[in-house]
């Protein structure tokens, strides 16, 4: 039972984030890191957009830039709700507040996502009074109870502290906290990566249940292509701060077109799968301090030729709904 997509919810255009590395007193000139380099995606209302990438791909940077935990260097973020659109930037605090009440971020690490000195009730409700959608305190407490039960915990647990819960339960508390303001969307940043294997499935199932129950739009970020392709309707593959491929899940699963996606696919350990052949996955990992001309996958790509180092391939639609950034995929 899929939730129907009804138009763009968040549009990201050419988003770039550059960091300057501190050179220190005795080093030569400082270095720049292109964490994100011109990424454009359109998240439709109601869908689950999966973002997959390895370390240095920019997926977490993209997620955090979306909610403006830091200002981006260039590019645009637009948010559409109730027929209107707003540009989202730190310079416009009012729209940002509205956006942040509607799009909630769920963090990866259950150990640091919850204030260890507060009990669960305070964790859920202490921020609510500053949000755009604040409720009076009595209503807040009953809402806290509702969300605890919605995530599979008991209302009696509201008086306890995070240290009394397991990792999986803490992620549930994080979800309850996100849901308390009735958001339209969740950004799930590697929310199961830090959990035991036997617990990960519980949280994934919970996310799906919540999505259906509350009609949530989701941006689901992970490094595991199998998990992302289970959870997402569309998938974006990031590498070196750029979007390499974007397609509906079924297409990515059956027919990955970009050489990096194919590499990811081959590298995944699968039951009954054989070891990847030598040479198929070799090469240096992406160095983010290289200047951003050319394709970041140079040095590891089986298809690469000279022009790949100097000319960045454009992200082009090679099949309906399927975009690929490679000179040699048409």
């Amino acid at each position: 039972m899929r939730v129907e997509s009804t138009g763009t919810f968040i549009r990201v255009t050419d988003l770039t984030k550059v960091y300057k590395l501190d050179a220190g007193l005795f080093a030569a000139a400082g270095r720049w890191v292109w964490a994100l380099n011109g990424v454009s995606i359109d998240v439709q209302r109601g869908e689950t957009y999966g973002l997959v990438g390895e370390s240095g791909s920019g997926k977490t940077t993209l997620a955090r830039a979306l909610v403006q935990l830091f200002p981006h260097t260039s590019g645009r973020i637009e948010y559409f709700s109730g027929g209107d659109g707003w540009a989202i930037t730190r310079r416009d605090p009012r729209s940002l507040r509205r956006f942040r009440a509607d799009v909630k971020y769920v963090f990866q690490d259950p150990a640091s996502a919850l204030d260890p000195r507060m009990n669960v009730l305070r964790i859920l409700t202490s921020g609510a009074r500053y949000s755009d959608r604040s409720l009076d305190s009595a209503r807040l407490v009953s809402r806290a109870r509702e969300t605890m039960e919605a995530v599979g915990l008991r209302a009696e647990d509201l008086g306890r502290r995070p240290s009394e819960f397991s990792g999986g339960q803490r992620q549930r508390i994080s979800l309850a906290r996100a849901l308390i303001s009735s958001p339209s969307a969740l950004i799930c940043d590697e929310v199961v990566s830090a959990l035991d294997v036997s617990v990960q499935g519980q949280i994934l199932n919970l996310l799906i249940e919540l999505k259906r129950k509350y009609q949530l739009t989701m941006i689901f970020i992970a490094h595991d292509l199998t998990v992302v392709s289970y959870m997402a309707d569309r998938i974006g593959v990031l590498y070196g701060g750029r979007l390499m491929e974007e397609a509906p899940t079924a297409e990515i699963v059956e027919r990955p077109l970009h050489p990096y996606t194919q590499l990811l696919y081959r590298a995944m350990p699968r039951l009954g799968g054989k070891l990847p052949e030598r040479g198929s996955t070799s090469g240096a990992p992406y160095n983010p301090t290289r200047p951003p001309s050319g394709c970041p996958f140079v040095g590891r790509c089986p298809l690469e030729q000279e022009k790949c180092s100097t000319v960045m391939p454009e992200l082009r639609e090679v099949r309906p709904g399927h975009r690929v950034a490679c000179h040699f995929v048409t």
Partner: protein
């Protein structure tokens, strides 16, 4: 008959662990990390140990090389190449490590001295076995080792420092260091958990290649069943300090007898499945508190097949040679192979 076969095998085996128990006294009571574990590894074989947090998989490996702290209470027998490791003094253990058996760990960046160059670290390691080795010889050997793990421009790399390398490179260097003194056994404790999946594939490939080239025996510890399945000959599945299933890799992965193995296999989505079509079959609850072991099967609180009997006593380990193929198969369940 079974006893004879076992002792025969014990003679040829590179690692033979019987009845291993490890306890840690703590403020909250005794922490029973390992509660009676057996495994035997033949020369040239790869043993995969799979488990989640609290399973005791890492502690078992550390015990095998005498690497547990002074407060650990170790019981049972650990035979490394026929010699008992328990009770050895620090000098004797030092002689064993690196030359008979070596270990690599999860976080490569934490395993290096940040202020020593790679070359210096190699020198230190090589001189443990042969203190008289000249600097030039150390350099030559180090270059050979680095090319064995497919690190190009080895001379240049030897001058570098750990912070200048990526995680994947450091792990390769770690492997080279572990093999520097030609051990016969390599224990790898979650060597790829901190690495990207594409790098992980390279490291697994490398370990497999080294295994066949050097006739190396390998113990591979991980929480990822599929990953272990790619490289191991036999797999042991551990939970809360006990082995719940053991056997040839192909068998354990395709026809598991323990419901826990079954649960691990079902835990994560299979390739190609989608939430719109299938629901994940998950189990409730989480891994038990290691200071509070209830009687009975540790998995009983979460097991869909559990009955009263499961909670009364730990099910005995039942051995069978299912196919007669390499290695014993074993399981600890009174409902083996029952579909949940």
């Amino acid at each position: 008959m079974d006893n004879v076969a076992r002792s025969d095998r014990a003679e040829m085996s590179i690692l033979d662990v019987r009845g291993l128990t490890v306890d840690f006294p703590s403020h909250d009571g005794i922490l029973q990390a390992v509660r009676g574990v057996d495994f035997t590894l033949q020369s040239g074989e790869c043993l995969g140990i799979v488990g989640e947090s609290g399973s005791g998989k890492s502690v078992s490996a550390l015990a095998a090389l005498g690497l547990l702290g002074k407060d650990a209470r170790v019981g049972g027998s650990i035979l490394l190449k026929g010699a008992e490791v328990r009770g050895l003094g620090p000098e004797q253990l030092r002689a064993l490590r690196g030359t008979v058996a070596s270990m690599i760990f999860q976080e490569p960046s934490r395993s290096f001295d940040p202020i020593s160059s790679i070359g210096k670290t190699f020198q230190e390691t090589l001189r443990v076995k042969d203190p008289a080795l000249s600097a030039g010889d150390c350099q030559r050997r180090a270059v050979r080792l680095l090319s064995e793990v497919h690190i190009p421009r080895a001379e240049e790399r030897l001058r570098g420092f750990p912070h200048q390398f990526s995680g994947g490179m450091l792990q390769r260097i770690m492997i080279a260091l572990a093999l520097a003194n030609d051990p016969e056994l390599l224990i790898a404790d979650e060597p790829t958990t901190a690495l990207d999946v594409t790098i992980q594939a390279e490291i697994i490939g490398l370990l497999s290649e080294l295994r066949s080239r050097r006739r190396l025996s390998l113990v591979f510890i991980s929480h990822n069943l599929a990953l272990v399945g790619q490289i191991a000959d036999q797999i042991h599945v551990m939970y809360a300090g006990l082995v719940l299933e053991a056997g040839p890799a192909g068998l354990v992965l395709s026809k598991p007898r323990s419901p826990y193995t079954r649960a691990l296999l079902d835990a994560l989505p299979s390739w190609g499945s989608h939430y719109s079509r299938e629901t994940l079959r998950t189990i409730a609850g989480s891994v038990p508190d290691p200071t509070r072991h209830e009687p009975g099967c540790p998995f009983a609180p979460r097991c869909p097949l559990a009955v009263e009997r499961c909670r009364e006593a730990v099910p005995p380990l039942v051995r069978d040679s299912a196919d007669g193929a390499a290695g014993d198969a074993a399981y600890r369940c009174i409902f083996p192979g029952v579909k949940t």
